[in-house]
């Protein structure tokens, strides 16, 4: 309470209008902070991408500089090979769900066989890369963020620099390349398995002849469908790796910080993946790709 110029005490003014103004002000401030945080994080991702690109170029072009094939292979196994099982499982379910959800509607139009077209296009162009990326963000992205974050907290990153070893060359580059490469590979597996899930469900539940299903699938897809799916998969892989590495490099506050980084990696990755996917889909639609 402040002293009033008239003597006595002045009661702080807390009208409902003031509360509303304060709440709106807090909300605007919070949105502003979030936008600033997003801009800052995007900037950090750009720096990580630039540095990683520089080290990939150096490793390929500069004689005597190791490409770190062993580390790349180890990361490919960790990121990709170990994710195959879960990607297969999820993608089979997606194929089954698509067929069973679409069947009644298509049956009404007497086009039940066209379920193969929908499954093929939805899986190869969209759900194969997207669902695989979402699985990978939880499986590999979180693990990369936790690993790099823990290394930062235990001074391993500092130790690398102290031994004249660049963390981008030593840690980020193999993880980035492994995620991008394996994302492409996993998307191909996801496409095949998703179509297979749809194929089996159509055959066993809807009694669509297998050869008919395969013929329709083949007719529904052309090379642009495969290429747009693969292109998206590569970009998704880059996004997951960049977000995970940035989160890992930004870790502060010990074990709690590592935990927050892993959660944040998954959340940011999913939002970024769906946002970028929507953007790509819109661009492909406009240009008729």
């Amino acid at each position: 309470m402040d002293d009033s110029p008239l003597g006595g005490s002045r009661v702080p003014f807390a009208s409902p209008l003031r509360k509303v103004v304060e709440a709106v002000g807090d909300a605007v401030l919070s949105v502003g902070r979030r936008i600033a945080g997003m801009v800052r994080f995007t900037g950090e991702m750009t720096v990580v991408l630039r540095e990683t690109g520089r080290w990939i170029g150096r490793s390929l072009l500069r004689p005597g500089l190791r490409f770190r094939r062993d580390a790349l292979a180890a990361q490919m196994v960790r990121v990709g090979v170990r994710s195959i099982g879960i990607v297969v499982l999820v993608q089979v379910f997606i194929g089954i769900i698509l067929v069973l959800q679409l069947a009644p509607t298509l049956e009404n139009y007497g086009q039940i066989e066209q379920v193969a077209t929908v499954v093929a296009i939805a899986t190869v162009r969209e759900l194969g890369p997207l669902i695989t990326a979402i699985v990978l963000s939880g499986f590999a992205g979180a693990s990369i963020a936790a690993e790099i974050g823990a290394m930062k907290e235990t001074e391993e990153l500092k130790a690398l620099r102290a031994h004249a070893l660049n963390p981008y060359h030593f840690l980020i580059m193999p993880r980035f390349l492994a995620t991008v490469i394996m994302m492409g590979g996993l998307a191909v597996i996801a496409d095949v398995v998703g179509v297979f899930g749809g194929f089996m469900t159509s055959w066993l539940v809807l009694d669509i002849p297998p050869l008919t299903y395969l013929d329709i699938t083949q007719a529904a897809l052309d090379h642009t469908d495969y290429l747009t799916g693969l292109f998206k998969a590569g970009v998704f892989g880059m996004l997951i790796a960049l977000i995970a590495c940035c989160e890992g490099l930004n870790v502060t506050g010990g074990a709690e910080g590592v935990g927050l980084a892993t959660t944040s990696t998954v959340v940011k990755s999913i939002v970024a993946l769906i946002g970028v996917d929507a953007m790509f889909t819109a661009v492909f639609y406009v240009f008729g790709i």
Binding site: R66, T154, E156, H163
Partner: protein
């Protein structure tokens, strides 16, 4: 720069932003020289700037003012670390080794691989010879029987020994130690100190040790630097600091001497502590 000076720290200033945005001077005109072959101990309470100084010395943090000149024997001329590019800094880093407070071993690698890594990355030494060097380095720190273990299987003291072996893998001219005996029991701490002295003698390295463990500091130091609130309070030989430590507090006239006497002896009462028993260091840290 005198010919036997390996590192010359000249008027180094480092600031960090406080919570309110104003700059806090963590290092405020720090000046001292490190001579070839000596072991110099930088000491001071928590928050006095010694870890920041170490980070500036190894090029982990850029300085905001002053210079840090290096003149290693294998370098053609003295160079200011603040003006170095990334590749120049990496070249300089090959001249020194660092033992981190936690050991900072690479957890995904075995003990042997931790030591082999810098050699493998920075030389064209054949794999067989690398094995021999690793064996030699592990023998020096008496950890040979643990060569295939992973860091998670080692105790704190063992991690520091392996960290020390890794720090010496490239036969550096300068060794930096960040709190080498922190978190260790007195016996292990003494063993690490002996190892540091042993390596200094055998490898003829220049050592810069940052610590607030006084027993350890007095065991290993040739010279000592006392920091207080980012400033050098005193630079002197170990003998000079021993005289200061052993003097009765009442016999000391200057405030700085009383302050150092309290710190060196670890007294709970004195100019560093207020009536509530809170030390000046704690007050500085809680004040941000």
């Amino acid at each position: 720069m005198e010919s036997d000076v390996v590192i010359s720290v000249q008027e180094v200033v480092k600031t960090f932003p406080r919570a309110d945005g104003t700059p806090a001077r963590v290092l405020d005109g720090v000046t001292f020289d490190v001579h070839r072959g000596e072991t110099i101990v930088v000491m001071g309470g928590s928050g006095c700037g010694k870890s920041t100084l170490l980070n500036c010395l190894i090029g982990e943090l850029p300085v905001d003012g002053g210079r840090i000149l290096y003149h290693a024997a294998r370098m053609p001329s003295s160079r200011d670390i603040s003006g170095m590019s990334e590749s120049e800094l990496n070249e300089l880093r090959k001249h020194f080794g660092i033992l981190f407070q936690s050991g900072a071993l690479f957890n995904s690698m075995s003990v042997a691989d931790n030591i082999a890594l810098p050699i493998r990355e920075h030389s064209s030494v054949p794999a067989r010879l690398i094995e021999t060097i690793v064996t030699l380095k592990l023998e020096q720190v008496r950890m040979l029987e643990h060569r295939e273990k992973m860091p998670a299987q080692l105790s704190g003291g063992q991690k520091k020994r392996v960290g020390l072996a890794r720090a010496t893998a490239l036969d550096p001219e300068i060794l930096f130690y960040d709190e080498p005996s922190a978190g260790l029991d007195p016996v292990t701490s003494a063993a690490i100190d002996e190892l540091i002295m042993d390596l200094s003698r055998k490898l003829l390295v220049t050592s810069v040790v940052v610590t607030h463990e006084m027993d350890s500091a007095f065991r290993i130091a040739d010279r000592m630097v006392m920091l207080d609130r980012g400033r050098v309070l005193k630079i002197g030989s170990r003998a000079e600091f021993e005289i200061l430590r052993d003097a009765p507090p009442d016999s000391l006239a200057r405030h700085e001497e009383k302050l150092m006497n309290q710190f060196l002896n670890g007294y709970g009462r004195g100019p560093l502590t207020d009536a509530t028993g809170t030390s000046e260091f704690e007050r500085l840290i809680t004040a941000g």
